[in-house]
């Protein structure tokens, strides 16, 4: 459904209707900006990068063959542009802390989490996500929030599917570990 709609507007842009591109901008601006922000950290840099991504996508629209989803193609432009920007700045990704929890603890954590107030859930989840290394934040967001498949994430990031699987698994465990710490602190503070 989404792919067909996207293709309709892409075709319109290709035929010279420049304004049709605004539909694509409106639809994907939040995710493109979010990915850029997760990698670059500074909102002003992320906004500029997101703008540049859309300009680049517009310029290269003729090269989009429709083999993958438009979103996958667009996110790969975003990801690669952010990575080269980080390389220019010589910023290395943070390494992942090895503190992880077992599968049983993950199940328990999920129950604790569900009992937490809705607004706190969002706050803690965002805090936990922000503590992950930048590239893992992108992988987790693309996979769990944006429902991109492992193959699509592989196209976006250039990482192998097996590497992505391992990274996502570790990131999820790490996030549960961080949530565990935060929710325990919350319980102690209430007591």
């Amino acid at each position: 459904m989404n792919k067909t709609e996207d293709l309709y507007y892409i075709e319109a842009v290709r035929k010279g209707n420049v304004q049709a591109f605004s539909w694509l901008v409106e639809k994907y601006q939040k995710m493109v900006y979010t990915l850029a922000l997760k990698l670059l950290k500074r909102p002003e840099d992320a906004e500029e990068m997101a703008q540049d991504t859309f300009i680049k996508a517009y310029q290269k629209l003729d090269t989009y063959e429709g083999k993958s989803k438009f979103s996958t193609w667009l996110y790969s432009i975003t990801y690669n542009a952010c990575i080269s920007e980080l390389r220019k700045r010589r910023i290395e990704f943070k390494s992942l802390d090895d503190r992880q929890i077992s599968d049983q603890d993950e199940m328990k954590m999920h129950d604790y989490y569900r009992e937490t107030k809705k607004e706190d859930q969002e706050k803690y989840l965002n805090m936990a996500l922000e503590k992950l290394p930048e590239d893992d934040q992108v992988l987790v967001t693309l996979y769990y929030y944006e429902n991109q498949s492992m193959d699509e994430i592989s196209m976006i990031t250039g990482l192998t599917v097996s590497n992505i699987k391992v990274k996502i698994h570790r990131a999820r465990k790490k996030m549960y570990g961080l949530l565990h710490e935060m929710l325990h602190e919350e319980i102690y503070s209430l007591l």
């Binding site: 035929k15 605004s22 199940m107 999920h110 965002n126 999820r172 996030m175």
Partner: protein, 149 residues
């Protein structure tokens, strides 16, 4: 494992997705409009061939069938010449006295002699269209100096 993944997915749907500034789309579109204004667009980008592939197949099939029909009917009646386009050409060749060539020509082209001139006119016109079409399609992606507003 899948259950854990599903649980985590449910949780992740609750995260806050970041938003750019409210005038983000406007800024992007004004940059794109400026980009489009100077971008060279292929003059024949929207050109579509006059005769579609399907029509070409029908035309060729019809012509081949016509040839077969004429060949078969010519053999049955034993006629090799008659009033037609090719017979006119044959007569002209005879008049310029190239006897050796013209006898070969008559034998070879006898089959075509029964084809009415209108069929040849249609064939010639189709071929001309085909040549023009292939020329325009080949140059479809060549840019022009036309600017998009």
């Amino acid at each position: 494992m899948k259950k854990l993944d599903k649980q985590f997915e449910q949780m992740m749907k609750g995260i806050r997705i970041d938003s750019p500034s409210p005038d983000f789309a406007l800024k992007v579109m004004s940059r794109i409009q400026a980009e489009a204004a100077v971008q060279k667009r292929p003059i024949l980008a929207d050109y579509q061939p006059v005769i579609s592939k399907r029509t070409w197949i029908i035309l060729i099939a019809a012509f081949v069938l016509l040839l077969i029909y004429i060949t078969v009917s010519a053999k049955e009646t034993g006629t090799v010449s008659g009033p037609g386009f090719w017979s006119t050409i044959s007569d002209s060749l005879n008049q310029i006295k190239i006897n050796e060539v013209s006898s070969f020509w008559q034998k070879g082209m006898g089959v075509f002699s029964s084809i009415p001139p209108i069929a040849f006119l249609i064939l010639t016109a189709s071929l001309a269209l085909w040549m023009l079409d292939s020329f325009l399609v080949r140059f479809r992606h060549r840019t022009s100096e036309i600017h998009i507003s």
